[in-house]
């Protein structure tokens, strides 16, 4: 009896540690993706369902890049190539969708709901083009960039820290820091915030809001691409990957009240919640882990019903030292 208790005790401990690590990993990525989604929403007022597809496309680009270089290059080069390809493709996909669909609609005076429907249309076009192409060209549908996910350390023999953990968490922190600097220290970053805050006054102040708009889409796409690349490290990519995370990142963005850091933090919280809840519910109540996506969805619905302005609102100025 005693040994049994001890074993399950350590399983519990290492299970918790492992779930926490995994939760931080997925949460960091959800947070990053939510950050990109928030950026688009703040500056253009579009709840963009196509954002998921930029992530998918970026992941595939990373795969293609690493596969092309796989023979002759070392790990670091492959990583950099994958990252670059993903960020680039994410950025371009994002900008193109605006230039071809969202901006023209905006000029015609489309309201937020129309833009949301349009974003679903764009998502359809992107996702099913990829699927159709993959099926007819006989590409493998499930891919993973050839970068490898080395195990860096093991904890108690039952859980481990892998390259993906380190990369994802580092990326989230680094990106958050970079965005903070961008938004609070650079003229362009402040102009982006100004455009989000009052676009007409931004124009009156001399800001070229079309330039700001393009920059926003590129940046949001690049962040999504980055996150997509890191996600594909430990999750095989398929054309539906973006769609599978979409509701998670909407949940994070909405929980964060569409504020930049709120979205990031909410993403991490949701990731942890998914991971830990699914572990505990499974261990103690035998509830199938397949239910875990429901957690994000329920969180989303609850927030929208009771606190649509967001639960965790964190803005740039709140992180400033008192002057």
């Amino acid at each position: 009896m005693e040994v049994g208790c001890m074993v399950s005790g350590s399983i519990l401990l290492y299970g918790t540690v492992g779930s926490t690590l995994n939760g931080l990993l997925t949460g960091s990525l959800y947070g990053l993706m939510a950050l990109g989604l928030t950026l688009i929403f703040r500056v253009t007022r579009i709840a963009n369902f196509a954002y998921a597809e930029y992530i998918t496309y970026a992941g595939y680009a990373a795969f293609a890049a690493t596969a092309a270089l796989a023979g002759g290059a070392g790990g670091a080069v492959l990583f950099a190539a994958g990252l670059l390809a993903a960020a680039l493709v994410g950025a371009v996909a994002s900008l193109l969708s605006d230039e071809l669909a969202f901006k023209p609609l905006w000029h015609r005076g489309a309201d937020p709901l129309t833009l949301l429907v349009a974003s679903m249309g764009v998502a359809f076009v992107m996702r099913y083009s990829l699927l159709g192409l993959a099926v007819s060209a006989n590409w493998p549908l499930q891919v993973q960039p050839m970068v490898g996910n080395p195990v860096l350390a093991t904890i108690g023999g039952l859980s481990y820290i892998s390259g993906a953990h380190v990369a994802a968490i580092t990326a989230a922190v680094a990106t958050a820091a970079a965005m903070h600097l961008l938004f609070t220290r650079t003229k362009t970053g402040k102009a982006m915030r100004a455009t989000a805050s009052n676009p007409v006054l931004a124009r009156i102040s001399g800001i070229d809001i079309y330039y700001i708009r393009r920059l926003t889409w590129l940046l949001a796409g690049a962040i999504g691409g980055l996150a997509g690349f890191l996600y594909s490290y430990y999750n095989p990519l398929n054309p539906e990957t973006g769609w599978q995370v979409l509701l998670w990142i909407f949940a994070a963005a909405i929980m964060g009240g569409f504020t930049f850091y709120g979205a990031l933090v909410s993403g991490i919280i949701l990731g942890l919640a998914e991971s830990l809840a699914s572990f505990y519910l499974n261990t103690f109540f035998g509830i199938d882990t397949a239910y875990s996506p429901v957690i994000a969805l329920i969180a989303l619905v609850l927030v929208l019903l009771f606190r649509p302005e967001g639960v965790i609102r964190l803005e740039a100025h709140m992180l400033r030292r008192r002057a």
Partner: protein
């Protein structure tokens, strides 16, 4: 020609089902301004209700006659292997009248289930901005799908219920054509009802709430009640569509009811023209046509051959086309193919005339002032 008949029957059945869903969405969004992006959720609930009732009835009626004993193990009885045996043998022991009765009962149950669920949806409908409301309902639909996909209740998780007999199961060769005719009958009834309802005083109430809910409240409409009623009617219709889908395919499976289906319905209504019942049907005809005809099997049956690569991609290309159609419509003809006719009654005409003369007078006054 036989193959062509089959495809035509398929298309007409889908047209009917999508037509009813489009009418349903049109009532809620086109006439009342509620973007029910959780449409598929109500269709699914109707389908589940129909499926559960139908399978339970088939089991209780056919199992004894077949001598098969069905017991519920870790889930509902109709999920078990024995149940499947009953379903396949049911046609032998149940006459058409019984099958039809089961069908009708299930359709009614589906409508009721849809309507009951609408009460849940009414709560967010009152409080949220339109794009947030859309996301809420979408998320709710996804919660339902994920839960029913995993849980053995109510429809046997990822296996689903299969083998539900069509009311025309005894007419082997002509079953699909007969069912298409039945579905079209339902579409006709739905359209007649919707047309009547939206042109009635209730319909005017819906439009008033849509156009300006504050003014409508002041005018004396109970906005919350009007919205709830709109969702009730819409959801009942959606449930019926779900039931029709169940008896057409014989299956109930959570995977069928994905958000993509909602988007197809939205596409149909936007294409055809919101707040316009004929438009909704037109849109549904186009969308269902795309869904049915852009399939390798359909094209083969019609004798059309395309390169292998295109054939393989076809089932996905149809969605690409739907997406492009949506974007084009939103950009170049947002009112849809058949725009909403403005309300023209003698009262409105007289008011307009008066307003015009008054404005002219104001203009003259302004110019003449010194």
């Amino acid at each position: 020609m036989v193959a062509f008949e089959g495809i035509l029957a398929q298309w007409l059945t889908y047209f009917a089902i999508y037509g009813i869903m489009a009418l349903s969405f049109n009532i809620e969004y086109g006439f009342t301004g509620i973007p029910n992006f959780g449409k598929v959720m109500f269709v699914a609930i109707g389908a589940y209700a129909a499926g559960i009732l139908a399978s339970t009835l088939v089991l209780s009626l056919a199992a004894p006659a077949l001598g098969i004993h069905v017991a519920s193990q870790s889930g509902p009885a109709y999920c078990s292997g024995a149940a499947k045996q009953v379903f396949s043998g049911a046609v032998q022991v149940l006459p058409t009248t019984t099958l039809f009765a089961i069908f009708l009962a299930s359709v009614i149950a589906a409508a009721a289930a849809g309507a009951a669920t609408s009460i849940v949806a009414s709560f967010p409908a009152l409080r949220l901005r339109e794009d947030f409301l859309a996301i809420t309902l979408l998320a709710a639909g996804e919660i339902l799908r994920l839960v029913t996909w995993t849980s053995v209740w109510p429809v046997c998780s990822f296996n689903g219920i299969s083998g539900i007999p069509s009311p025309f199961a005894h007419y082997l060769g002509r079953a699909d054509v007969l069912y298409a005719a039945l579905a079209m009958l339902f579409l006709l009834l739905a359209w007649l009802y919707t047309d009547y309802a939206t042109n009635s005083p209730w319909g005017r109430a819906l439009k008033a709430v849509r156009d300006d809910d504050v003014a409508a409240e002041v005018y004396g409409y109970n906005v919350a009640k009007v919205r709830a009623e709109s969702l009730l009617v819409g959801s009942a219709l959606a449930g019926v569509a779900g039931a029709l889908l169940v008896f057409y395919s014989g299956n109930v499976n959570a995977a069928t009811y994905r958000p993509d289906m909602t988007f197809e319905v939205i596409a149909a209504v936007i294409l055809g023209g919101a707040a316009n019942n004929v438009g909704a049907l037109l849109g549904a005809a186009v969308i269902s046509g795309l869904l049915i005809f852009m399939n390798p099997s359909s094209l083969e049956a019609l004798g059309i051959t395309l390169p292998r690569a295109v054939m393989d991609a076809l089932p996905y290309l149809k969605y690409v086309i739907i997406g492009i159609v949506i974007l084009l419509v939103l950009m170049y003809r947002p009112q849809g193919l058949v725009p909403e006719k403005p309300l023209k009654t003698p009262l409105v005409e007289k008011t307009r005339e008066k307003l015009r003369r008054y404005l002219e007078q104001l203009g003259r006054q302004g110019a003449g002032d010194s």
